[in-house]
Structures are given as structure tokens and as C-alpha cells.
């Protein structure tokens, strides 16, 4: 198969980027999208040009490293997959494929299609954890967790932190990512003790980092490779409202507690 690629090229964070059009030929339809880019990059290197930089690692849809906004969709034209699981048979021979980096103020471009997603780590550091040290823990079966709660918690915990929700949202909002973590921990008895502080701290950090706010369009859910539901956003709103109404008049600061 042959394709025309329109790829965003940007030398570094400060440089001005632009779209460059390329041709790529001889692609097998059983290749993954990233393998297509591998072949293309080898062709560029052989010609002595800089290869296109993009993030990728596990190539089995779980590490959350790969990104790419392909023809207007994060992770491209297939549902419930990451870019590394997208295959070229989803395209037609001769197609033009426009490849852009995630666009968000909080995810600045590092080079070409590679963006900086440290903002997500910072949100987790603000409170996306349960405050226990290693050791001195009661037996795992000492806490009973209803299966339904464990299952819902797992549904939310399946988030791979890729940032497709931010990329898909017209507001570049990180609500689905934050809500997934808030829900995962709030649904478990272990996480309830600090649920009120957690949600406030994480939301405060999210706002501070420059993500947009949620206008309930549902694009995040539609594009999430792990199909995480926006029900989690409603749960977070509820948690947040409860936390704000019930908390003492004291500012919640992000970070370990």
C-alpha cells in the first residue's frame, strides 16, 4: 500500500513547526501504524534526513506511551485501540494521512510528534495515591470489598495515562484522566480515608497546569482506548462537591499527606 503523509515537523520545543508532505510506499496492510512509521523513518535515515520523532514503547496497547492525532482522531480511525494497535488495513491504498501531535497547553511539543506529558505525573503526585508506607499492613483479606465495587474500581483503574482524552476534548480538558484516578481510589474502602483531600488536591493541580474544563461533550470517552466512562467524571464532580461542602475552611494543598 502507498500513502501520502502530512506530518507535523518541529525541531524542538522553541522552534516553529510546520506540516511536511511525504510519500511512503510498499506498506503491508498487516503492519501496525507505528511499523509503517518505522519503515518510513528507515527510508528517511537512508536518505540522510532526520527521522520523525514519535513516542512509543510497549507496542501492545498498555504502556500509554504512543500518541498521535491521526486524521482528526487520537489513536486514529479505530475504536478502543492505541496507535500501536492500529493497523494499516484500516486505511485505503492511496489515502492521505494527516498526523499531528497531541495539542494542549499542558502538553507542549518536545519534537515533531512527541509531547511532554509530565503534567499527568504532577497530578498524580498531587494526590493520586493512598498514603501508606511499605510494611505493617493488615492482611489483604482483612478488608472485604464487594465484587461490584472492585470491578467498577478496576474499570477506572484501567486508564493508561496516554492523554487521548485531553487530545480529543475540544477544551483540552484532563477531567477523564483525573476522574479515572479519583474514582479508582474513591470506590475502594482503602482509598476513602483521604478521598476528600485527594479530589480537591488533584483538581487544583489540574487547573493549575492549564487544562481546560469539562463541558460534557463525551469526546474523551469516545476516544479513550480503554473505553473509560464519563460516569467517572460525574463521580468526581460529586466527590468534589461533597468534599468542598464538607471540608473545613482550610486550603487543601497538593502533595503528600
Amino acid at each position: 500500500m502507498d500513502f501520502t503523509l502530512k506530518i507535523w515537523r518541529q525541531k524542538n520545543a522553541k522552534a516553529k513547526g510546520k506540516f511536511v508532505t511525504y510519500k511512503v510506499t510498499g506498506i503491508s496492510e498487516s503492519s501496525s501504524f507505528l511499523e509503517m512509521l518505522d519503515v518510513f523513518n528507515d527510508q528517511l535515515v537512508t536518505k540522510g534526513e532526520d527521522p520523525v520523532v514519535f513516542d512509543h514503547d510497549c507496542r501492545e496497547g498498555i504502556c500509554g506511551t504512543c500518541s498521535l492525532y491521526i486524521n482528526g482522531r487520537p489513536h486514529g480511525p479505530d475504536d478502543a485501540v492505541t496507535t500501536c494497535q492500529l493497523h494499516m488495513r484500516k486505511f485505503k491504498d492511496g489515502d492521505t494521512i494527516v498526523i499531528e501531535p497531541w495539542r494542549s497547553k499542558a502538553f507542549p511539543v518536545i519534537r515533531d510528534l512527541m509531547v511532554d506529558r509530565q503534567a499527568f505525573d504532577k497530578i498524580i503526585q498531587a494526590g493520586g495515591f493512598i498514603s501508606v508506607n511499605t510494611g505493617g499492613i493488615p492482611d489483604a483479606n482483612a478488608i472485604l470489598i464487594p465484587k461490584a465495587d472492585a470491578d467498577s474500581s478496576m474499570d477506572a483503574a484501567a486508564c493508561i495515562g496516554c492523554g487521548a482524552c485531553v487530545a480529543a476534548c475540544k477544551n483540552a480538558s484532563a477531567m477523564l484522566f483525573v476522574a479515572a484516578k479519583v474514582s479508582h481510589l474513591a470506590l475502594l474502602p482503602q482509598g476513602k480515608a483521604e478521598a476528600s483531600r485527594r479530589v480537591q488536591a488533584m483538581v487544583a493541580k489540574m487547573d493549575e497546569l492549564g487544562f481546560g474544563s469539562c463541558t460534557n461533550t463525551g469526546a474523551c470517552e469516545a476516544e479513550c482506548p480503554k473505553q473509560i466512562s464519563i460516569d467517572n467524571i460525574a463521580r468526581m464532580n460529586r466527590e468534589f462537591l461533597g468534599a468542598k461542602m464538607g471540608s473545613q475552611k482550610k486550603k487543601v494543598v497538593a502533595g503528600g499527606f
Binding site: S28, S30, S31, E35, D38, V39, N41, D42, V45, T46, E49, P51, V53, D55, D57, C58, R59, E60, I62, G64, T65, D78, Q85, H87, M114, D116, R117, Q118, F120, D121, I124, Q125, G128, F129, I130, S131, V132, T134, G135, I137, P138, D139, A140, N141, I143, L144, P146, K147, A150, S153, M154, A157, A158, I160, G161, H184, L185, Q190, G191, G256
Partner: protein
């Protein structure tokens, strides 16, 4: 020859760890914050170590090459994590887990370490639950278990098919908390390129900032390598694209011995290779073998007809199918251990009965199970795996049998460590898949997660304190010491050397070639002639690499080609060492199968007389042969037997 001291505590195996803990030296809280520890790698072992050491009060710097600690490849583990909780009342115990692990490893692991692993396994589950890992539950709210290969009890805890992900996110969140408390500093997109020794002790690392290209110096009182395995030597493996052996290899060159480098695990159920440009192999969970039957055609004409799409697999009559695992191993059938299943698949394909376009695949057929249990039961059990298969292969596994083939998955070998998990370089600790210690010649399913977390949560916090106790008066290290200067100079000159080649072929070309050599001669079945040939071929490839590799761009920018080049250069040297180790080990055991040493039925034949030892290789210089050191394995608690799955 007798430099190796494994420092196994005296006494019966069951009390070694507790008596060790009772007698080690400790560091008081006020002194801990004066001590720095570098942790390289943030997978299960690295993240849990960073979190636990940070919680104790040490100042930790954690490095990863990924863009977040959460992305380390531990995240891809599917099946589960073993622990001897005996929640099922089916007779599990610490001893039984210990025994199964030693036996599964074909009697090539160290008793003391493995017993400790089994002993702390329960606490790992407690710890993970406390951190919010949503393990599968029964309706009554208690934890659920499933069974895995190589055990007669149900001791595997799981979180759907994403156990590794959930455990890693637990450790990552604990580490994130320590970051916010100021005890851990996280360095992302940093690749360690050398370890720095001061007066013979590991005192820091040289790392390249992968965004700016800057070469940075970082000092500490001790260094932990938790950088995972080296399966990517084979180019195609189930490892992540970035998984590499550079940290291990640099440590090896600075004096850390490499233990059992040839012990590689080939996983039997992966999606087969589809073409020359494939970058990576995808694992299909071992659990599929519970309900799938593995077969190839009996007749060559059927093989031909299949290849030309003249017939479909279901057109082949029952009597013309060869269910070779059931035929050869009637007792265990399709559930033989990984190494046995992999070799059997290779044997059939080599004999010309393989299916698929390349002839390198066998069928994993669910038709019988669907008939017996109904499609919805199969869908409930394996729905997500079937969907994943369909996305990749574009075939419906409910209608046609899956095609699978073995692929490189895990490396049991790694840097040699003693009971403290310290390598032969004082102050250089090695944890998780990166060390050699617990899995012998073959790892059982669901044991890798257990080992990574055991090392990080429960072993290193004790053993490192023991090491650091006499270091409290050593002030923080300045990075302008001549040792750092020298190490940085060498790192820079090597990067420059790579650039200066200015050849004509991209790095991947060499990596692919290396992979082909390794898979052909140092893969599932090895023999003397092939191994010797591999060594020669790797040397030639290396020479060609340093003459003809082409790297674009600059050193001071994001440059994936440069990153890959450095890693592949190290892989080529490591590949040679693997071949040498395999050549030296004139026996078959676990994942290491030497064709010369097999029973008349074609099973692995161990030689306990001559090879019941850990081969620890010592670097002697670039142009010199490495020296072999042997750590003899002694079995006191377990009687050594031949494995039998017939």
C-alpha cells in the same frame, strides 16, 4: 575462581531471612536523610524500591528512559502474581511455593533467595491491596485466585488481564507520594550510560537527558539497577521497544559479574511474525492453553494446501491432525511448562508441518471448547484476548483456530547478586529481572511480578540499610571528582564515535541481523556448532556496525537513532556473551536446550554432576575473553530430581 561469596545466612532455610533481619546493622532516621540512593528503572522493582527507600527517609533519585515512571514494561504483564497465602485452603505454603519455583527453574536457582521470595510473597499482596490495587474479588468480598502452570494449587492473584499494570500503578503511586514529600526525585527521559565507581564502590551514574541530549552526572551512596531484562537482543520479543541492556552491560564492564546470560525464556503463545517490518511480538496469555488445543496437520499435502489457501484448517479431518502436545505429554497435555511447549512447536515447524504464510506457526484451536462449553463461556473467559487477536491478525478466532508461535519473553539471567542483592561491585544493587537470582533456568508464570516487588518492597530496604550503615559519615559526593569526569568523558567519546562512523545503514538493520543470528543459533534449541558460528557471525556484524552504521541528527537533541545505536552496540556484545555461556553449559536445563544433551524421547537432559552452578562471567577487557566464575548451587531443603511432565 572463588571470588564469589553469596553471603547466604547460616541456619535452616526457613529461618535464614528472619535471622538475617534480626542481625543486620540499621541506619537511624536522622542519618537516613544524609544518604543518597540512585534507582535506575521504575518498573515493579525500581518503583517499589524508590517508594520504600524514600518512605524510610533516604534521599532517592529515580531514573527512567520513558516519559513517565508508570510506563515501565512491567505494565504489560497480564496473568497474575503468585503468593503463598493459602486462601483457597488447597494446601499451599511458603515451602510449596519455594519448592515449585526451584523445580520450575530446573534446579538452577539459589535456595536461600527463593525461600525468601516465597516468604515475603504474602506481604506483597497485603501491600498492593493497601495501595489500592483492585485485585479480582469473590462475591463475598474476599480475594479471588486462579491457577497457573507449574503448580498444583491456586495461588495466583490477578486484576483482569492487567495485573502488571495495576501492580505497577500501585508502586508508581507510592513513589509519586514520596516525590511530593520530597524524598524521591524523579528523572524521566533519562538514560543511564555508565556507572561511576569511587574507590571501588558504586557512587553514581552518568545519564543522558534524552530531551536536551545533555550528559549529566549524578552521585549517591549506593546505586540500584532495576532496568529489566535483555530479551531485545533477539530484536523481536515481547519486550517494549525501549527495553535494553545498556545499564547492565555498563555495570558488567565496571566489574559486576553477569550470571547465566544464556537463560532465556521463550513464551509458547505469541502471535506469529507476519513480515520483515514487524517490530514487536505480542503475547497471548498462557491461560489460553486451558481451553485451547494445539495442533498442526499430519500430512504435508495439507500443509501445502493451507498455505495456498485451498483449504481452511477446519476442513482437515480429525485423524489428519497432530495434537502433538497431547501425543507427547499425555499427563500434562496442552498445559506443559513454557519451555517444553515452545520446543515442541519449534520441532513440528522445523519438520515442515508449520502453518501460516511463513510456516512458522501452529494452531491453537478452541472449536472443541466452544462445542463443549458454548461460545459465550469462551467469550467470558477470553473475550478481550480474542478481540486483541482479531485486531492484530484480522481473523476471527471463534471461527478459525488462532495461529501462535513461541517468542522471546523473559531473561532469567542477569547481573550476579548475593543474598543482599548486591553485585560484585560494592554498593551496586540489582533488582527484578535485571538480576539472575530467583528463577533458575526457567521462570514459572506469575512469578516475575512477585520477584520484582519482593526485591523492591521487602528485600532492598533491609539489605541496603545493612550496606549503608557504615556509610553515615561519608558526606554527599560532589560530581566534580575525577572519577565522574573520566566516566563522562568516556560516555561522550563513545557517542561521538557512533556519530563518526557515518556509514550507510540505519541502526535497525543491524539490530534485525543480530536478532536473526540469535534466534537461529542461540534461540530455542542450541548446539555447539551453531553457537560457535553465532559467535563468529556476531563479531563480524559488530565490525560491520562500527564501519557502516548511519546516525542522523545531533547529540544535543532528541535523537532516537542515537539512543538505539548505543543500545544495539551493547546488545551485540551481550549476544556474544550469551552464546559463550550457552556453549559452556554442556547440558540442557529449563529454557536452555542443547541438542546434544537430550533423552532418547527428545527431552532436556540435565547434567547435575558438572553444571549445578551459576556461571558468573567477569569482564576482562574489550579484546579479552571474559573469565568464568562458578557459584556452586547446594540444595539442602530440596531433593534434586529430573523434571517429568509425561
Amino acid at each position: 575462581m572463588t571470588k564469589l561469596n553469596s553471603k547466604i545466612p547460616q541456619g535452616p532455610v526457613a529461618t535464614k531471612w528472619s535471622s538475617y533481619k534480626d542481625h543486620i546493622a540499621l541506619v537511624n532516621p536522622a542519618n537516613k536523610r544524609k544518604l543518597d540512593i540512585i534507582v535506575v528503572g521504575t518498573g515493579l522493582a525500581g518503583a517499589s524500591a524508590a517508594a520504600s527507600l524514600g518512605a524510610l527517609g533516604f534521599k532517592v533519585k529515580a531514573f527512567c528512559y520513558q516519559d513517565s515512571p508508570r510506563r515501565a514494561h512491567s505494565i504489560a504483564a497480564q496473568g497474575g502474581i503468585n503468593a503463598s497465602k493459602n486462601y483457597q485452603n488447597d494446601g499451599d505454603s511458603v515451602y510449596r511455593l519455594f519448592y515449585d519455583t526451584i523445580k520450575g527453574g530446573d534446579y538452577r536457582a539459589r535456595e536461600g533467595n527463593v525461600y525468601r521470595l516465597a516468604e515475603v510473597s504474602g506481604a506483597i499482596i497485603d501491600q498492593s491491596v493497601a495501595l489500592g490495587v483492585p485485585f479480582a474479588r469473590e462475591y463475598g468480598g474476599l480475594l479471588d485466585n486462579r491457577s497457573f502452570g507449574g503448580a498444583q494449587v491456586s495461588r495466583t492473584f490477578y486484576a483482569r488481564g492487567q495485573t502488571g499494570q495495576q501492580l505497577l500503578l500501585g508502586a508508581y503511586s507510592a513513589m509519586a507520594r514520596q516525590v511530593s514529600l520530597g524524598n524521591v526525585e524523579s528523572f524521566i527521559r533519562h538514560e543511564m550510560l555508565d556507572v561511576v565507581l569511587v574507590d571501588g564502590r558504586a557512587r553514581g551514574i552518568i545519564a543522558r537527558n534524552l530531551v536536551t541530549g545533555e550528559i549529566e552526572r549524578h552521585s549517591a551512596h549506593a546505586v540500584v539497577l532495576a532496568t529489566g531484562g535483555y530479551g531485545n537482543v533477539f530484536f523481536l520479543s515481547t519486550n517494549a521497544m525501549g527495553s535494553n541492556a545498556t545499564a547492565l552491560w555498563k555495570a558488567y564492564k565496571k566489574g559486576a559479574f553477569f550470571g547465566n546470560p544464556c537463560f532465556t525464556q521463550i513464551h509458547p503463545t505469541c502471535i506469529p511474525v507476519h513480515g520483515d517490518f514487524q517490530s514487536k511480538l505480542t503475547l497471548m496469555s498462557e491461560s489460553l492453553r486451558n481451553d485451547g488445543r494445539i495442533w498442526v496437520p499430519k500430512r504435508k499435502e495439507d500443509v501445502e494446501a493451507l498455505r495456498h489457501n485451498k483449504i481452511k484448517p477446519k476442513d482437515i479431518a480429525e485423524e489428519n491432525r497432530d495434537y502433538y502436545l497431547e501425543r507427547r505429554y499425555p499427563a500434562f497435555g496442552n498445559l506443559v511448562p513454557r519451555d517444553v511447549a515452545s520446543r515442541a512447536a519449534k520441532e513440528r515447524c522445523d519438520a515442515g508441518f508449520g502453518v501460516g504464510e511463513t510456516g512458522l506457526a501452529v494452531y491453537l484451536d478452541f472449536a472443541d471448547s466452544i462445542k463443549r462449553l458454548g461460545r459465550n463461556v469462551i467469550e467470558e473467559r477470553y473475550g478481550n484476548l480474542f478481540q486483541m487477536y482479531q485486531k492484530i491478525v484480522d481473523e476471527n478466532p471463534y471461527e478459525n483456530p488462532m495461529m501462535i508461535y513461541p517468542a522471546v519473553h523473559y531473561t532469567m539471567g542477569g547481573l550476579w547478586v548475593d543474598y543482599d542483592l548486591m553485585s560484585t561491585v560494592p554498593g551496586l544493587f540489582v533488582a527484578g529481572e535485571a538480576n539472575f537470582s530467583d528463577h533458575g533456568a526457567n521462570r514459572l508464570g506469575a512469578s516475575a511480578l512477585m520477584q520484582g516487588l519482593a526485591d523492591g518492597y521487602f528485600v532492598l530496604p533491609y539489605t541496603m540499610q545493612n550496606y549503608l550503615a557504615d556509610q553515615i559519615n561519608v558526606p554527599r559526593f560532589k560530581t566534580d571528582l575525577p572519577e565522574f569526569e573520566e566516566a563522562e568523558k568516556q560516555v561522550k567519546s563513545r557517542l561521538q564515535k557512533l556519530f563518526d562512523v557515518k556509514g550507510s545503514k540505519p541502526v535497525d538493520h543491524f539490530h534485525r541481523q543480530l536478532g536473526k543470528i540469535m534466534w537461529e543459533y542461540v534461540g530455542m534449541a542450541r548446539n555447539k556448532e551453531g553457537l560457535q558460528k553465532a559467535i563468529t557471525m556476531i563479531r563480524e556484524l559488530r565490525a560491520e556496525f562500527w564501519k557502516d552504521v548511519k546516525i542522523t541528527g545531533e547529540t544535543n537533541e532528541v535523537n532516537p537513532e542515537l539512543e538505539k545505536a548505543g543500545r544495539v552496540a551493547d546488545f551485540m556484545e551481550l549476544g556474544e556473551l550469551m552464546a559463550m555461556d550457552a556453549l559452556n553449559r554442556e547440558e540442557s536445563c529449563g529454557g536452555h536446550f542443547r541438542e546434544e544433551y537430550q533423552t532418547p524421547e527428545g527431552e532436556a537432559l540435565r547434567n547435575d554432576e558438572d553444571f549445578m552452578y551459576v556461571a558468573a562471567w567477569e569482564y576482562k577487557g574489550d579484546d579479552k575473553e571474559p573469565a568464568l566464575n562458578k557459584e556452586t548451587l547446594e540444595y539442602e531443603a530440596i531433593e534434586v530430581k529430573q523434571r517429568n511432565y509425561k
